[in-house]
Amino acid sequence: MEHAIKTAHLAVGYDTVIIVPDFDIGFQKGKVTSIIGANGCGKSTVLKAIGRIIPSAGGTVIINDTDIARMKNKDIAMQMAILPQSPTAPGTLTCSELVSYGRFPYQKGFGRMSKEDKEIVDWALEVTNMGDFKNREIAYLSGGQRQRVWIAMALAQQTGIILLDEPTTYLDLCHQLEVLELLKELNEKQHTTIVMVLHDLNLASRYSDFLLAMQSGKVYAYGSPAQVFTPEMLKACFQIDGEIVQDPRSGKPLCLSYDLLRKA
């Protein structure tokens, strides 16, 4: 299997506290992978380090067979897009203006949009179902629409890889599904490699090809949802006693009911 992203001995932390000591993983090309784990387990930290939003304290990150330490920021941005958790933009931007920032790594000088740039922006807005809102200011959008515009911006970057940090936070059930359906569709149609951090385990299981469960800075389990989403993982990573069944619609594992583990 080909890897879109590979890390070797990646270490990340703030100040002197190392949160993730030694992270070795390969994310498969053209697949959806969700990183799950309890608060503070280092899942966002790892994602940010791969996206070089926070500097790593050691180790390497390789995307499409090149070490990112040896790549220019612009060149990385043409291969990998990153959507941080709940981004904010000046509300006076219109959707198409925001999405046009996705063309940033391809532009020079004053940033005039070429014909190709404009076509890609329109395409990204269409794909995310935001075409009707392209001239609307962001302040007048709903939370779900706003998240779709941000995803459209990442799409306009035309990268084979998209990293997302909790893309469904603050969204209601319907909008959560909308965002994940959109990501799934992109993965299927454009073969985009998607790596995201998700809080909701059932949604992660339903929409991902692979799950990566983390526990205090280390990889606990990595594999298909059926392999990873088990009562043992819930115990180890979340201190939860959970009942796992098969989702009658998707066939994926689903956590039906759960309780706090009684401290013995």
């Binding site: 926070i54 990153i82 200011e137 007048y140």
Partner: protein
């Protein structure tokens, strides 16, 4: 009365009105039109400034004189007295306005400006120390912006060193807090340094710190003009990067911006422009706050439009304040900088009340 009300309402809609939906071309046109309108406003206050003063001139005479057909007397009034001061005011406005846009954009905070970040205090401290310790007076026009720039850069550098950590992303709150603290420190040292000044030095420094628009010799204006053109050129060229940083440091990184490098470079430009303006004009830091603020409401947050708009807006404010200071009996002898600050306070209280 009704007519005036209608005109004011129309002007308000023209400058501040916005539509929920607008095509990119229409938005571009509206913004350019607004910048042109601001420039016309600047021209109007400039001409009014040329007319008014101890020897009042008719607008026709002013235009004639500016076109090179003035009398001996009107030539003297315009070219020796009014024009230098007006030109200086306009340049200081541009410098502080553009500098404020960059700092507010870099730090994602509307209260960031050369003044609030302690950069202007650093420039001011350096000039004060130079006058106090090295030279009795400043006779080399090039020296002042260089001194102010060194002072500004050193203080910005200290803020950056204290406010950031290696191996950590930039935190704007931390930088602002450090700037405020360091600004207070520089202010204290500058006040202390004033004890060793003699009377004429003290007078110069005091008026300079209050924002006196003192450097009205053409040689100073020429230096400031060239300085601002050079720095402004690079600022406009990098407007796109500032736009990306406006979306957040994380997003900018993801789009391929080397945030720390861009931050240092843009901060250098901002400090350069504010230092030179501070050097010749005096302390006009409120201008760097209020100009960009008003301009953002007029043209939005896209730096490519905001830089020129904030420059023109700040110039309009400072020229208007200067006219009032020079011509209204009540205000005479108030340094222009102080007057701008007084004007800015109600505006900020209004903004705060709206926000709450």
């Amino acid at each position: 009365m009704d007519r005036i009300g209608r005109i004011v309402a129309r002007a308000g809609r023209f400058f501040l009105g916005s539509r929920r939906e607008q095509t990119p071309a229409a938005r571009h046109k509206a913004r350019v039109m607004r910048i042109v309108a601001l420039a016309i406003l600047l021209l109007v206050v400039f001409l009014v400034g040329c007319c008014l003063g101890p020897y009042a001139l008719q607008i026709g005479d002013v235009v004639k004189t500016l076109l090179g057909q003035g009398t001996y007397k009107s030539n003297m009034v315009i070219f020796d007295f009014r024009l230098p001061r007006l030109c200086l005011a306009i340049l200081v406005g541009f410098g502080m306005g553009a500098s404020g846009v960059i700092m507010q954009g870099l730090l994602h905070n509307d209260l960031a400006s050369p003044g609030t970040l302690g950069v202007a205090d650093g420039s001011s401290l350096f000039v004060t120390l130079y006058v106090a310790l090295v030279s009795k007076q400043i006779d080399e026009p090039m020296l002042l912006p260089v001194l102010a720039l060194i002072g500004g850069l050193i203080s910005a550098g200290i803020i950056y060193l204290l406010g950031t950590k290696k191996g950590k992303p930039i935190s704007s709150t931390k930088l602002i807090m450090t700037g405020v603290a360091m600004g207070a420190c520089y202010g204290a040292v500058a006040t202390f340094a004033m004890y060793v000044l003699d009377e004429s030095q003290l007078e110069f420094i005091q008026r300079w710190q209050a924002g006196e628009l003192w450097g009205t010799e053409w040689q100073y204006i020429r230096v400031l003009f060239i300085w601002l053109v050079v720095f402004g050129f690079f600022a406009v060229r990098n407007a796109r990067i500032l736009n990306a940083i406006n979306l957040g440091y994380d997003i900018a990184t993801g789009l391929g911006v080397n945030v720390k490098l861009a931050f240092s470079g843009l901060a250098f430009l901002a400090v350069g422009m504010s230092s030179a303006s501070v050097a010749f004009g005096g302390n006009f830091f409120f201008l760097g706050l209020i100009g960009p603020h008003i301009a953002r409401r007029i043209v939005g947050s896209d730096t490519r439009y905001l830089l020129p708009a904030a420059g023109v807006t700040s110039s309009v404010i400072i020229v208007a304040a200067n006219i009032l200071v020079e011509n209204v009996e009540w205000f005479i002898n108030i340094p222009t900088g102080i007057f701008v600050s007084i004007l800015a306070v109600p505006y900020f209280l209004y903004l705060l009340m709206r926000a709450a």
